[in-house]
Amino acid sequence: MIPPGLERELADVVGARFVLTRPGELLAYTADGLPGYRHDPALVVLPGTREEAIAVVQLLARRKVAFVPRGAGTGLSGGALADGTVVLGLNRLRRILEIDVENQWAVVEPGVVNAHLSRAVAPHGLHYAPDPSSQSACTIGGNVAENAGGPHCLKYGVTVNHVLALTVVLADGTVVTLGSTTGEVAGYDLLGAFVGSEGCFGVVLDATVRLTANPTAVRTMLADFPTIDSAARATSAIIAAGLVPAALEMMDQPTIRAVEASIYAAGYPVDAAAVLLIELDGAAAGLDEEVARVAGACREAGAREVRVATSEADRQRLWQGRKKAFGAMGRVSSHLVVQDAVIPRTRLPDVLAEIGRIGREEGVTVCNVFHAGDGNLHPNIPYNGNDPAETQRVERAMVRIMEACIAAGGSVTGEHGIGVDKLPYMPRLFTEATLGAMCRLRDCFDPERRMNPGKVVPMRSCREWAMAPAARG
């Protein structure tokens, strides 16, 4: 599928060591964090500098070769997979270029690992707010492409709220800066449109991201519930009461048990049907009153116990269990499908009940660990992917869960993206005209459709749109 001689030409740019073609070398690039998809790239190219990255994209443009940008490959929608085309790995570009403490921003290369940035700015009392649970591995480039979220995005906003500017190279090799460090730019909000474009609009070469001052005071609470329903009702009540926690996470019993059986054991009550991990932060004055209001809402909904972390170590331990929950679940079985959907927050009790029912009917174990405060569900299912019958049941359960979320007025993804996995749902959420508008936007950035082809918008929609320009009026 790739033109002859490309491998050698790429090697001239990045060095032969950084062009991978042997099946053994390519293996690591055939999947991302979501099981069930395997796409074999023709080759992987790993530029070591920004100039090399630009030269690679320009070479691919001259040779008209399709390619897929890739960061750490932790994505959960199959977004970084390349089928017979080129993978452009950005993880060697991992320098922090500038830290501006006064203006509270940093300029980073796309391969910088999310947690490394927070660590680097910690001495200044700052951090990078978007904190996906994969933050010890995922890259800022991948975060920008997915508009990643995390537990603290409830109060602090998702990736797009923290990106001031991006320098990107478009598929045709043009380098352009979107946004600006001053926040104001002329013209359309192309920066806003770019964030979350899943590697289809351009390759991020550097990102200027906002840094957030560490809060003066923090209180972390663990509330223990006898039923999922009571935890869901507590969540709805906290949000409806106008309290704005920094984070509000839910874990159900299968998740709690997986965590407690792992090296990340956090002291969660294994007999609880669900726990809420709630963090409040801000000015010290008045914070304890807010803690009391949240605790009151939990108790009123039926919480058996609400405890506040007594020390920073205690707090870290409570968070560790949550952040490593996917990993802990992954150890329970050979495969784990991590899912993502969003519902209105008042619908949490009934949709969670529906998910429980679907799990029972399909004979699968659904582990819920999610950003409850945003209504952002992660109904995950551990299973044995080598058992075709079980795999089929898991797939059926997932489809039914997505249908339930759509029916509740929700969305099929809050932070993991469409990739290839959620493509079938797009026509359920959007009309052909809207999908056509998305295709037209993509065509502004990449008219040849060479970047991450076949992702995000079903091919059919784009093709129909391209075939019928008259319909545009």
Partner: protein, 391 residues
């Protein structure tokens, strides 16, 4: 060389308004109207028409008045989301949400009778944007009718959503040139339990100004808004005609009390009623011609001092230190003088509204043109607006 404001003014020459005026009361009517009109008929889009200096000057064959397409269509207080038709006024939304202890913290300059559709379409911001976010952050979902009269949507009704490419952010701030907003779902916030404001006189020397801003960062509670006013604007807010910094803090009773106490330690600080804020916004002159400048926040004191020195006493100047923004409302001569004074600072300059599309970067101009071509190839909607003057 022409200033951007002048280039903008040339693009949108003031003409007599178009004779044809349509005021559809349903989305269907709007669609029929667009589909029924010939492909070369152009439209200027109008909400409540409060920002007359913009809407009145757009030269087009017909006016599309969205003010009758109004009303809140869904409001679930427990979800902190609200859906309303584009012609709904910000005042109506404020009233409906206040009853539930919530608000939509969009406070654009101008009258509260401005519409939701126009505020999102123009991405208009006010002092609250510094902490509570921009219009693009408030918008969760949109319904639109495009230039060909085809209905599309963007986003959804939930507070977190990455399904598909982000048409919401593309449309917010596009000034109606990529589609007519007919309905929007927005994210609400809980109203702060206590909301208090103080006015602090601004020192004249740059080093003192910088020191004041640094010391204000130490307030334990981050303010809801912090806006600097020149003497002309301070007078509009009922304050002594001097350079003032208005600081608004909101939150729980103890936290706000402590913050106000910290503010009061600055000499000559006075507490002012929070009702000063809407008075200030509404004082915007109807024929306002405005230019916004922005720099890195650390450069803000020098931008502020430069702009204030270059503008005459009647011009209104205000600025948001944390966003690095200073906005000047005044006649062309003032704008010209300010522009020359500011040039050495390398500020980003945005002349409202026509100059918004004018960028000096060819690659960006090219992307902007492609976007416009993709959504409104005939330039039927708000012709002239957002263009760079060449297409």
């Amino acid at each position: 060389m022409m200033t951007r404001a002048e280039r903008g003014a040339r693009i949108i020459e003031s003409g007599g308004g178009p004779a044809v005026h349509h005021a559809p009361s349903t989305e269907r009517e709007l669609i029929d109207l667009l589909q029924g009109a010939g492909p070369h008929v152009t439209f200027r889009i109008r909400g409540a028409g409060t920002w007359a200096s913009v809407t009145e000057r757009i030269r087009a064959d017909a006016t599309l008045d969205l003010s009758r397409l109004s009303g809140i269509t869904e409001y679930v207080p427990g979800d902190l989301t609200l859906t309303a038709r584009a012609g709904t006024t910000l005042a109506d939304i404020a009233e409906a949400t206040r009853a539930n202890g919530q608000w939509l913290p969009l406070d654009p300059w101008g009258a509260p009778t401005g519409t939701l559709g126009a505020t999102l379409a123009t991405a208009s911001t006010g002092p609250l944007a510094a902490t509570l976010g921009l219009p693009r952050d408030a918008a969760l979902g949109l319904s639109l009718v495009d230039a060909a009269g085809v209905r599309t949507t963007a986003g959804g009704r939930v507070v977190k959503n990455v399904a598909g490419f982000d048409l919401v952010r593309l449309q917010v701030g596009a000034c109606g040139t990529l589609g007519i907003l007919t309905e929007a779902t927005v994210r609400l916030r809980p109203l702060p339990a206590v909301d208090r404001s103080c006015a602090i006189p601004l020192p004249a020397a740059q080093s003192d100004l910088t020191a004041l801003l640094v010391s204000l960062r130490q307030i334990p509670l981050s303010p809801l808004a912090m806006e600097a006013l020149n003497p002309a604007l301070a007078a509009c807010a009922g304050l002594p005609p001097a350079q003032m910094l208005l600081v608004r803090v909101g939150g729980s009773h103890p936290a706000v009390a402590q913050a106000v106490e910290a503010l009061a330690r600055h000499p000559h600080t006075t507490e002012i009623p929070s009702s000063a804020w809407p008075v200030l916004s509404a004082s915007e002159p109807a024929d306002a011609m405005s230019v916004r400048y922005s720099v890195r926040p650390s450069q803000w004191p020098s931008l502020w001092i430069t702009v204030c020195a270059a503008s005459d006493a009647s011009a209104r100047v205000h600025g948001t230190p944390s966003r690095g923004v200073v906005r000047v409302v005044g006649p062309a001569e003032t704008q010209h003088r300010v522009q020359q004074a500011v040039a050495p600072l390398g500020a980003v300059e945005i002349a409202e509204p026509a100059g918004r599309g004018v960028t000096g970067v060819p690659a960006l101009a090219e992307l902007g043109r492609r976007v416009r071509d993709a959504f409104d190839p005939q330039r039927r909607l708000n012709p002239g607006v957002m263009d760079d003057g060449r297409s």
